[in-house]
Symmetry: C2
Subunit: 525 residues, 2 copies
């Protein structure tokens, strides 16, 4: 199918507006000649209206039917073939190996939610039987309604039009309107085709999925302000996420915003760990910092060490490796300009020493920035919150702590993050517990002797954390529990079995795990 | 112990401010002569500081230790004896039978959370074992940190200083600062004694609990704006709840607000139900509307009927009973004035007919308002959202729908509510499913052939709903799941067993229910 550059609204293409933008190859800065049409407010309204109509149908579909649809989406994404990979590579510069892996993760997410739905326990069915003076009360999770989703630039598959927010919202039983990221509009359009094919194949209402293009803030603001949108999923910058959060909070009827935003993912390395395996840690750390040209929300951007010769040697080793590593391609001009701006501001702080980088790549024909290592003191970090800014790219900042107490005080002063990491040795287990508790308070995930990049898509994963990592620290955007962002509990009091969803019927016809009179059971009442 | 009128901060009384207010007996409007001191911003800061210090201790207490503390709180509330009942009765006019029942519910809530904690499954432990290419990931729920709680006026026990928000936040492992309601300051102070005794008996840190008095908005605003507060629980008016929500959203670091606010709890009664049991429904309805002088957030304030002679007869019967029922005592002057104001505004709407009431009680020496019944058309409700305002008191509004389609269109136009109710007959089961789905979208709880007042404190209860019923439709303020408002998941990646909480250790030493590699199990790994 040839690309159209149009929006995709409830099964049909639409290009009513006059504002257009273009796809850019980040390796050559070459601008493609196909115009993409930013959605108009009428188009936003039409997409949401179709989502409302679709939701009235799908809110009553059994989980198994939604599971079939999710599997179909995965199949249809695969049916796009390698064209999808080449298109995304041309728009993002991420390379075919990474994109091939990311596609597998993306289809895997849809199938994993399908499996979750067939298992049925995700509905969290809870039943309290009637007793003298107490009615029968039965609750389970239901979809919240039409959801707005904002695609990210750095994962054109796994956090974008067909990303985790989309998969979890559809799995919840919601209809969705996706605001595509302007960094990869052609890739986004191809995903819209896949959703269209899946909707046709599984006979879902067309308004289940719409995709809107746009390279300004208007489309997103219209979408979040629309009275029929019930929740928002967002992955992107702190600035963008906060703007969406504020817009939703200002509505006459506020709605929840699940924004996954900035994170600097602090890493603490003990002296014993350096003594035992400094070279291994340095190699792993540089790999994690430069992975995907550092464009990961889990990029390790802050390394805390106690002052010592071993620490100085470690910093020197990391600096050398960072300086020697080739500069990668950045996703787009906005990210390149943002990186240059944030690093320049940090480097200009008198408390900062630049060890390598902190300058633009010379003679570059692609979007790029030098791998950068900076250093500061623990006291400086505690005194100036601006030093906890995210540098979205291959950049890290070493923080030298005078001693263990200085390090602990600095951990207490950290902002919220997606992850915190500690490298330590087995013979420190008895003494390091308190530090681990401190690190726990600052993040959604605590990593032991590893690196924060790489987020396993498993049930136990928590990809979230206190603000500014997210706007909703109780939620996750990776793993099966991501579905609960788009569901809410509803209780039924004395409602006859015939009117209840199968998950709540006395006989438990689905055979799912339920909490019945405070005991977990897969049996009938 | 004699009442002091002071704030209660981390185990000590404090009265630094110059602003005072007084307890008023709503039956006589008599002002008591003990001055209560509104907290100052310094006192707010001191209470939150103590809560931060306490949280660093209790965040690592095992669930069983917290359970013992919750049980102790219940015991200490009982130890206050009948003085508590008489004090609350004098401040609220709710009467000893109601307050005796509410006290049992209140202590029952603490003990129910104790039971939940000892069972352990509430921690939602999820484990994914290490596999090739995938780390070991283990998550569970942890307390969020210091929590601010706003007490309600209408449940001086069950939704106030020792109410459900307090019980669930302490059960979660959080420390709390409670803003007491100025309608019952003496009752609030007595509860502070009980918490102080429980803290001493169980050797908890004093900052676990503080209670601040205040009869303006300052104390609450200072509390919500405090940088160390991590979440807010609120029960009260839409106006008050929205102000708290807005203040929290404006913070540099926004925090979640769980506000349970207004609700009109729509009730649909079918013609078949009227034919079968009009008299019973009328009696139940009037009982529900006038219970506690109508001062329930689940008060049935909107009744939808199809136009018919049976409906007219039903409305006449309800109106007669409402007119004949004695006017009850209202809690305080603010509620009395608010009720008069909202009913007057509604009654002045040309689309409204007043059937009875809508006027102040004459020669009243207590705070009171006439039982009120009004009527309007479905078209009027759809056209004017102001007709969905909550009248907090013994007031209901009948909505006459032309036919079933008109009724269904009106249900679609309803705002969010805590509850929706349908009265129908068994032979309508085949046809009424769609209406039930519609009603489900508008509420947190759907009631069949019952009345919305009376909220069972059971695991399956959902006391919440879409805005404006609450600011967080995924949360509940009654029942065991209320605890999750004050917890968040944290995942541990490859962290050694020795550093993990018992709930996540491989051997499952607590023997709790966990989700291990996607299968529920109480066994070891």
């Amino acid at each position: 199918m040839p690309l159209t550059g149009h929006n995709y609204i409830a099964g049909a293409t639409s290009a009513e507006g006059g504002a257009t933008f273009f796809s850019v190859d980040p390796r050559s800065k070459k601008v493609d000649d196909l115009a993409f049409y930013s959605a108009t407010s009428d188009e936003v309204d039409r997409a949401v209206g179709a989502a409302v109509a679709a939701f009235r149908e799908i809110r009553n579909y059994p989980s198994a039917r939604i599971a079939d649809f999710l599997d179909e989406v995965a199949t249809q994404i695969e049916a796009l073939g390698d064209d999808l990979l080449h298109t995304a590579d041309r728009e993002t510069g991420l390379g075919l190996p990474r994109l091939t892996g990311e596609r597998a993760r993306t289809t895997g997410q849809f199938r994993a939610f399908g499996k979750l739905l067939r298992d049925g326990a995700y509905l969290r069915a809870i039943i309290n039987s009637e007793e003298p003076g107490q009615p029968a009360v039965k609750q389970m999770q239901f979809p919240v309604g039409p959801v707005a989703i904002f695609a990210a630039s750095n994962f054109p598959f796994a956090f974008a039009v067909a990303g985790g927010d989309t998969a979890s919202a559809l799995a919840a039983g919601c209809s969705i309107v996706v605001k595509a990221h302007p960094g990869h509009p052609a890739t986004s359009e191809m995903f819209a085709w896949a959703f269209g094919a899946a909707i046709a194949a599984q006979d879902f209402p067309p308004g289940t999925f719409s995709m809107l293009q746009g390279n300004g803030i208007d489309v997103g603001q219209w979408l979040v302000a629309h009275e029929s949108i019930e929740a928002v999923g967002f992955t992107g910058s702190l600035r963008g996420g906060r703007a969406i959060y504020d817009a939703a909070a200002r509505r006459p009827r506020p709605i929840p915003v699940y924004a996954e935003m900035g994170s600097i993912n602090p890493v603490v390395i003990t002296q014993a760990a350096l003594d035992a395996r400094a070279a291994d840690i340095a190699e792993g750390l540089v790999g994690s910092i430069t992975l995907g040209t550092g464009q990961f929300c889990t990029n390790p951007g802050l390394i805390l060490l106690e002052e010592s010769p071993a620490s100085q040697a470690f910093i020197a080793a990391v600096t050398e490796k960072m300086g020697a590593a080739p500069a990668g391609v950045l996703l787009n001009e906005t990210i390149a300009a943002g990186l240059e701006s944030t690093v320049s501001q940090t480097a200009a702080n008198p408390q900062i020493s630049v060890l390598t980088g902190a300058e633009a790549v010379s003679e570059g024909e692609c979007f790029a920035y030098c791998n950068t290592v900076m250093q500061t003191s623990a006291a400086a970090i505690r005194a100036d919150d601006r030093l906890q800014v995210e540098h979205f790219g291959p950049v890290t900042l070493f923080v030298i702590c005078e001693d263990a107490a200085d390090l602990r005080a600095t951990v207490d002063a950290l902002d919220g993050n997606l992850t915190t990491t500690v490298h330590a040795e087995d013979d420190e287990l008895a003494s390091i517990g308190d530090l681990l508790h401190q690190l726990r308070e600052k993040a959604g995930r605590v990593i032991w002797n590893g690196f924060p990049t790489g987020v396993a898509v498993v049930h136990a994963m928590q990809h979230g954390g206190p603000y500014p990592a997210t706007t909703a620290p109780g939620a996750t955007s990776v793993g099966m529990n991501a579905i609960y962002r788009f569901m809410r509990p509803i209780a039924f009091q004395n409602v006859p079995d015939a009117l209840l969803p199968d998950a709540l019927k006395d006989g438990n016809p689905l055979g799912i795990m339920r909490l019945v009179d405070d005991v977990y059971s897969t049996g009938a009442l």
